[in-house]
Amino acid sequence: MKIVVDAQSRQILGATVFGTGGDEVIHCVLDTMYAKAPYPVLQRAMHIHPTVSELIPTLLEGLAPPAT
């Protein structure tokens, strides 16, 4: 899975989830975008274990400029 954010506005720009439940998991990213919430809102959300969705907040901890 992969998430891209705008470093300045902290808005989420795009995401890909390829894996079990990916078709459902993507909606927590989409709804954060519809809410126009910056990514830290999603990063600090507590998701249920053991699910695939719980990987999204921890995934956001790894944000960094893309390796080129």
């Binding site: 899975m1 992969k2 998430i3 891209v4 954010v5 705008d6 470093a7 300045q8 506005s9 808005q11 989420i12 720009l13 795009g14 995401a15 890909t16 989830v17 390829f18 894996g19 079990t20 439940g21 990916g22 078709d23 998991v25 993507i26 990213v29 989409l30 975008m33 519809y34 126009k36 053991p50 699910t51 695939v52 990987l55 921890t58 995934l59 956001l60 901890e61 790894g62 944000l63 960094a64 400029p65 893309p66």
Partner: protein
């Protein structure tokens, strides 16, 4: 025959076209709903409903073969494709029946036939059971959908070429299915038939599968399919086909591997095209783009005031969810006086191989009104592996 006058005419009964006429009728309008084929459009008859029903059968076969890894004993696993097809047909019939049951006497009037414009407010319908009707309305909504795009391929007239519709009617598992096209439709059917027990070769002229995706995603998808035993022929352009029943040879232009691939069946999966050529759009003055899609503005109205286009035929989305959103926009704007727009939606889609690939695209098109200027944006990325262990723990419980 004199014009029969309506408040609104809707052409096509897909996800947008099935709901809008009901909403308009509920609001007191006299509505004609015209359908030339089966009620429900592609989604119900030839798209989501049947394909996802068959994907579920394929997934179950895949899981049953792996049962021993989970401590479950099964016998030898084989697939009865005729029974898969029957189950699929029952699901489709149920979905169509569900649609038909909503056409109540006080709802829209269903007219079965093929519609074409004779002017900006007038439509002639060639009725399915003979004869014609002339109807007119101040508001006309086109929801004509798309169909598989044929490919002009030398020799295609000499062999049976399956498309995404006809492949679902097979009653025996192909020995070796050749799939032309490494896009979404080709991958869903390729994996499905591999799991049904076919040998599968996917021929793609580009250097990778699902080329709209990021390269590392294409790689992950390719790895998954190869691990399931599918043969990929990338950078291979199919030049012609030859053979006869039971033996089809695809001749490819490539720099490595064999220049011909022999299989028992051939699926053409090179995209879809809009059903806009038979609508008489020129008589109404409705503009199309160079690929045949009807051009609409941000509120789905065409260049002709009073004519709207919903769903796949407007080229603003190729999915049931975009068609449904189109319906919501037009219904809300017409009936509630809102000003909802296409650009308010955030595009997203999924590829239903197993496990699925879901994406909110970034940079490449359809990004909506809130996307920052790519030149000014400083993108930060994060990526991680979807948890394999979690997948294995859950694999028996998330079958849909």
């Amino acid at each position: 025959m004199a014009d029969e006058h309506y408040d609104a005419i809707v052409i096509g009964t897909s996800q947008g076209g099935r709901l809008l006429p009901a909403e308009l009728a509920k609001a007191g309008h006299k509505v004609a709903l015209v359908e030339r084929g089966q009620l429900g459009g592609v989604c119900v008859n030839r798209g989501c409903t049947p394909t996802k029903t068959m994907v579920a059968s394929a997934r179950l076969a895949y899981q049953a073969r792996r049962a021993v890894e989970f401590g479950v004993r099964t016998g030898p696993v084989s697939v009865d494709l005729a029974a898969v097809r029957e189950r699929k047909q029952a699901m489709v019939a149920g979905a169509r029946q569900n649609f038909a049951s909503r056409l109540t006497p006080d709802g829209p009037e269903l007219i079965e036939g093929e519609a074409h414009f004779t002017g900006p407010k007038t439509v002639e319908i060639d009725l399915s059971d003979g004869g014609t009707r002339q109807v007119s309305a101040p508001a006309i909504v086109i929801d004509a959908g798309t169909r598989p795009r044929p490919l002009e391929l030398a020799g295609a007239g000499d062999v049976t070429v399956l498309d995404s519709t006809s492949i679902m009617e097979l009653d025996e598992v192909p020995e070796h299915l050749i799939v032309l096209g490494g896009g979404y439709i080709g991958l869903e059917f390729g994996q499905m038939f591999r799991r049904f027990g076919s040998e599968v070769t996917i021929i793609e002229m580009g250097s990778r599968l699902v080329q709209r995706e990021d390269t590392e995603i294409s790689s992950a998808v390719q790895e998954l399919l190869i691990n399931e035993g599918i043969t990929l022929r990338l950078n291979a352009r199919c030049l012609r086909v030859s053979g006869d029943a039971g033996s089809i040879i695809a001749h490819v232009d490539c720099e490595q591997d064999a220049p011909s691939i022999e299989g028992s069946h051939l699926l053409l999966a090179v995209g879809r095209q809009p059903n806009t050529d038979d609508l008489g759009l020129d008589a109404a003055g409705v503009s199309r783009d160079d690929r045949g899609y009807i051009v609409v503005n941000d509120q789905l109205e065409t260049n002709v005031p009073g004519i709207w286009a919903l769903g796949d035929c407007n080229g603003r989305g190729a999915f049931t969810h975009t068609a449904y959103n189109d319906f919501e926009i037009v219904a809300s704007n017409l009936l509630e006086g809102t000003s909802r727009r296409i650009s308010d939606r955030i595009s997203a889609y999924a590829l239903f191989i197993d496990p699925p690939l879901a994406r909110r695209p970034h940079r490449n098109g359809g990004t909506g009104s809130r996307a920052p200027d790519p030149g000014r944006e400083t993108a930060h990325e994060t990526r991680g592996k979807s948890d394999r262990k979690r997948r294995d723990e859950r694999i028996d419980e998330d079958c849909r």
